[in-house]
């Protein structure tokens, strides 16, 4: 199993930490992982993206231009990454702030209204976990137990009390994700 | 002594919502918007009537987004 994922959105949406939790969780289940962020001025510009690879085998290039899954959280990222999903691959997006919806017909497309859900939950910080939940529902490559371990590894101890809230968000995400176009 | 009246024009698209201008207005006529601009910043707005055109806000605005007008009345 090798899953190549791009997560892309604004800085502040928790894109990088979402990737980090996925990567740590991968380690928890004995997989190879890589987490390759955009950095520097690209980030100052306001966008942030990270390539996460989780694999049973040694990972070759941590930098890719085609992905199994694209998780897209703003319009700029949609413009940049829709075309990078491999045929037959998957695109998950939050429609909030999206003006041009994805139009490819050779991939699976899902929506998750994560921003809305996080607002409903009055827990805007868990936005990225809602998205993660949606992803895991569709590709259960990491089990929840390992996600919990991953969370523990990537959070400082003083934030451990927030773990249940995050797990809750993941569950919410897996519930609200909806198919837009399925092959 | 002649009274002065002023007004400001804010380039709300360029405003970064830093709020540095807010405390320097002597008449407290400016405030941050609830809405955000296309960059995602809450921008500054003239909200009151008593702007004196003192230029304080414009002078401290790091992004130079404020234009000030003043008339003697």
């Amino acid at each position: 199993m090798t899953e190549e994922i791009i997560i892309a959105g604004f800085g502040g949406q928790g894109v990088l930490s979402m990737g980090k939790i996925m990567a740590y969780s991968g380690i928890m289940q004995n997989q190879e992982v890589s987490w390759m962020p955009s950095y520097g001025p690209e980030m100052r510009g306001g966008t942030a993206n990270v390539t996460v690879i989780i694999s049973d085998d040694r990972i070759s290039s941590p930098i890719l231009n085609k992905y199994d899954t694209a998780i897209i959280l703003n319009q700029q990222s949609m413009d940049k990454f829709e075309s990078t999903v491999k045929p037959g691959g998957m695109l998950i997006y939050d429609p909030n702030g999206i003006s041009r919806h994805p139009s490819r017909t050779d991939i699976n497309i899902y929506q998750v209204e994560a921003a809305k859900q996080a607002a409903i939950m009055k827990a805007s910080k868990t936005f990225n976990m809602v998205v993660l939940g949606a992803f895991l529902k569709l590709k259960p490559i990491i089990n929840l137990e390992n996600i919990e371990k991953g969370l523990k590894k990537s959070l400082p101890e003083r934030h451990y009390h927030m773990i249940p809230m995050n797990i809750d968000a993941i569950n919410q995400g897996s519930e609200i994700v909806k198919a837009i176009h399925v092959l | 002594m002649a009274k002065v009246k002023g007004t400001i024009v804010v380039d709300t698209e360029t405003c970064k919502g830093c709020e540095v201008c807010i405390p320097v207005c002597p008449t407290n006529v400016i405030a941050m918007s609830a809405k955000v601009n296309s960059k995602g910043y809450n921008y500054m707005n003239l909200v009151g009537e008593d702007c004196t055109g003192c230029t304080n806000c414009a002078v401290v605005c790091p992004d130079g987004v404020i234009t000030v007008y003043r008339v003697k009345v």
């Binding site: 990567a23 190879e32 992982v33 390759m36 950095y39 070759s60 290039s61 941590p62 231009n65 590894k153 | -």
Partner: protein, 359 residues
Amino acid sequence: MKELRLMKGNEAMAEAAIRAGFDGYFGYPITPQSEVMEHLQKERPAIRTGMVVLQAESEVASINMVYGGAASGKNVLTSSSSPGISLMQEGISYIAAAELPCLIINVVRGGPGLGDIQAAQSDYFQAVKGGGHGDYRLIVLAPSSVQECSDFVKLALELANKYNNPAMLLSDGAIGQMMEKVELFPQQPRWTLEEIRKKKPWATNGRLFNQERHIVTSLHLIPEKLEAHNNHLQAKYKEIEKNEVRYEEIKCDDAEYIIVAYGLASRTAQKTLQLARAEGIKLGLIRPITLFPFPKIPISTYAEKVKGFLTLEMSAGQMVEDVRLAVNGRVPVEFYGRTGGMLPAPDEVLAVVKNVFKI
């Protein structure tokens, strides 16, 4: 128990420096490697192992602190990125001349000039041929993963101490910034005073009672002496070339074409290999791990068997010269490179392979 962590390359190097038992780090902030010093400071190595960490006023000061520290017999390192490493060239030449073991980390970014802060491999010449003046060599290791960032810090120190020679880790911005799983090696003790006295008897850390005092210098005013010193250095470099070549080869056994690539580019090449093999193209990969000493002999050996080489670099073409020197005209050596922080993609490279070798 294995100690697994998800770490950035930069953090892994810093953590490895503490664990390898380094005595001192001297550096100056620069993107994309500032996490090295930041991780060190966060970890309070003064408490963990007694390691000294000091933010210097510049890279010139850093490298000269390394000079002083290494001359005093301590295991010391510095890190920087391309422009900062350029500023260190005089110091590096002095250190190489004085035969001081130490470690210099270059997390390469796009150049020339201020360039950008993305990953590049355009400091190969500087690292391998000597960016400073005079005939000298660094032992240059090129990690291609975060794991190797950690492992090579330890290895570099060992090699540096074995040959009394400065070693360099030639990493890049992407490896520095990316996170991977690392298995950390256990804490090594810092050398005791006795070990220092024994292993670095030449060090200047206080003349022992009734023993000869020590001098560290790179000055040899008499040309005959300087030539003798140069001969000694060259003999040492030959020895290093004989003993310390490290490389990895993947699927070269049956290969008709071989990509030569190091560091991050070698991972792109690996992926290219997968794509090529899927199409039935017999592509192999030689990944130099030591850039000096360069794996001349393996490349030369394969030059007898394959139809051609492609050198893949994140530069305008630097290592390709060493590949050509190894192949020496027997088969074509082609080059493909991206610069300025642009990263070649596996499919792009495969297309190049097909194109240049008319497959």
